[in-house]
Symmetry: C2
Subunit: 348 residues, 2 copies
DNA sequence: ATTCTCCGTGGTAACGTTCCCACGAGTTCA
DNA sequence: TGAACTCGTGGGAACGTTACCACGGAGAAT
């Protein structure tokens, strides 16, 4: 049934020119007379010509295909990244092949192979591999994204600016009167944790706060991890209002659950600040105040960097995208309760 | 720097056979001696050969590329669908080109064109187009997904089984003693609304409930839409515990907000049942009891159907995937309060 | 012994495009 | 006036693979 699709030769014949001229006219080359170009374009419209990207890729080596390898498209943060990358790619006439690696080495390797076989022009990768060899073998231009990219300083990568994010969170906490926030961190093995903690310490020192005196708990980057960490936090001795800076929104939401289970209220008794900006934070009660990572912008910027890499203009550096604060209801303002070192209990 | 990638000719030369034999061995054809196959495979491994999918597509007409056009990858339901499709495609050695249409005709058209130019083998589409022409012009095998696919009964499509979903929800409501639930529906223009309402009526009749007597409100499929619908519902006269079946999780979460704002409690005063199964429902307080659509399974099944279409075995029918109930905390059990027609107020 | 069939193999064409080179006409410069 | 140069054009090769056909040897059937 499906009729043979018109080729550039059909267009050339119809326009009464050679296929070379037709090709030049269609690809927008300059050395064609306006009259010839007009005729070719008209003929192309008439026969319903659509360029065969396969043939173009075969001959020119450029496929207009980009790869995106992320842990899980189901994770809202990565979905945002994918969306940004997709839109930017589309603006440049490129299409995105999306793969989920599930933090699995084997999957990642097989996805990278699929990308090579598809002859993509380049790829954006959140690497699960910890050795550089696997990436080196990739053999195509690539840009790394996410915090794990920090393990590969020699490659260009795009991530969120954790230092600025922590500053943003601390500024907000302090402006609301929380001068000694507790911390809920991710597992010790994760690279993001170290960076978070380091910049946190720097900001404490800047503000004359002794970081060693602040309560700190850790757990998995999940709701349950946050819940149990918060339970341990609540068992410690403390006076008055408790403020918590969680390193991840899911943990923050888990912490909120723990607060409720302990018969306390958020934000009246406990203030919670999250980190990530997942949509679910908008639907909790109270809404989660959080420092949001710019997922979409990271995707957009990664594509820009990738095009640079493909064009042979490697930046070979890490790009940091600024985070922003989303204020919802999980933080109480205790700055009026007492000038410094809030000690009284939460407001009714 | 980047060395020329080895071709099948390099492999053939190394193995001491013709490229025809090498091609047969590599593509797993049967008419090759074991000895020759062995030599070819060994040679391929030695030179690091990786098949060029472009050339294969060019010659054989099969690219191993599938298209997925959904409204928005950022929407958790569609992300689930994408993930399912991606995994199933990978199992069959295919890769997925993902596009977001934002319910925009122009975007959809341009994405479909990109898919044609990339010579994908077929596509999975959630159509925003309401006329068949746009899809007919697509010219490649495709499978429709989502409720809007019902407008095209002549094409094969995969969606969730709304009739079964409504039954599931009603059974659950009734089992908890809610014999006269109110309804929060989507906009009148949406096709899913009609189907939802129709099956709801059928189940009411089966259970001797007069559907006309039940309160009903509608609004946009958003948190705000659900909130205002719930406000209107709460302004109506009523006695005792109120149960609400929302046609969408976001609306259900919005309804929950409205309940809290009215000084009432969920589930003590108002029970809420959602529909979709978005992750955010797990983080609300109380957790949202909901009928979950099988997003992932829809993606998986759509790929299966698409392969059938590509192979020329068109099913030309709609596949309905069963939904499942996720019980969290937003539904009170009032079946013990009073045998039928619960009238007393919520438990303290 | 001869013919027929089967099977593994190799050579060649084809997929649709872009790249490269050569050609002729017009223009500029010596 | 002839040489050198520019510019639009056309022809052919090339990208890497699979489809197709022809060939030769081994074994079966006559």
């Amino acid at each position: 049934m499906q009729r043979r699709r018109p080729t550039i030769i059909d267009v050339a014949r119809k326009a009464g020119v050679s296929k070379s001229t037709a090709g030049r006219a269609l690809s927008g080359a300059s050395n064609v007379t306006d009259e010839a170009r007009e005729r070719v374009l008209e003929a192309a419209r008439a026969v319903g010509y659509e360029r065969n990207d396969l043939a173009v890729g075969m001959r020119s080596g450029r496929t207009g295909l980009l790869g995106l390898v992320i842990p899980d498209i189901t994770n809202p943060f990565w979905a945002e990244v994918a969306r940004g990358a997709q839109d930017r790619a589309a603006e440049n006439g490129a299409s995105l092949l999306v793969f989920s690696s599930d933090w699995d080495h084997g999957r990642e390797a097989s996805h990278l192979r699929a990308l090579r076989q598809a002859r993509v022009d380049g790829a954006i990768i959140n690497p699960v591999a910890d050795s550089f060899d696997d990436l080196d073998r990739f053999g195509l231009p690539f840009v790394l994204i996410g915090s794990s990219a920090e393990r590969f300083p020699a490659n260009s990568s795009v991530g969120s600016d954790i230092a600025q994010a922590v500053r943003l969170g601390m500024d907000h906490l302090v402006s609301k009167g929380h001068h000694a926030p507790a911390l809920i961190l991710g597992p010790k093995s994760r690279i993001a944790r170290a960076r978070f903690l380091r910049t946190f310490h720097e900001h404490c020192v800047e503000r004359d706060i002794d970081p060693a005196a602040l309560p700190m708990e850790d757990g998995e980057y999940t709701v349950e991890g946050g819940r149990t960490a918060m339970m341990r936090l609540l068992q410690r001795d403390r006076v008055g209002h408790l403020a918590v800076f969680a390193a991840n929104d899911l943990m923050a939401l888990g912490a909120m659950v723990a607060v409720r289970e302990a018969g306390l209220r958020c934000p009246e008794d406990v203030s919670i600040l999250g980190f990530d900006g997942i949509p679910a934070g908008a639907f909790s009660w109270p809404g989660l105040t959080t420092v949001a990572k710019p997922g979409r912008e990271i995707g957009v910027r990664a594509v820009d960097c990738l095009f640079d890499e493909i064009a042979g203009r490697p930046e070979h550096g890490r790009v940091f995208m600024p985070c922003r604060l989303i204020e919802r209801g999980s933080l109480a303002d205790v700055s009026l309760d007492q000038p410094r070192r809030a000690a009284s209990s939460g407001r009714g």
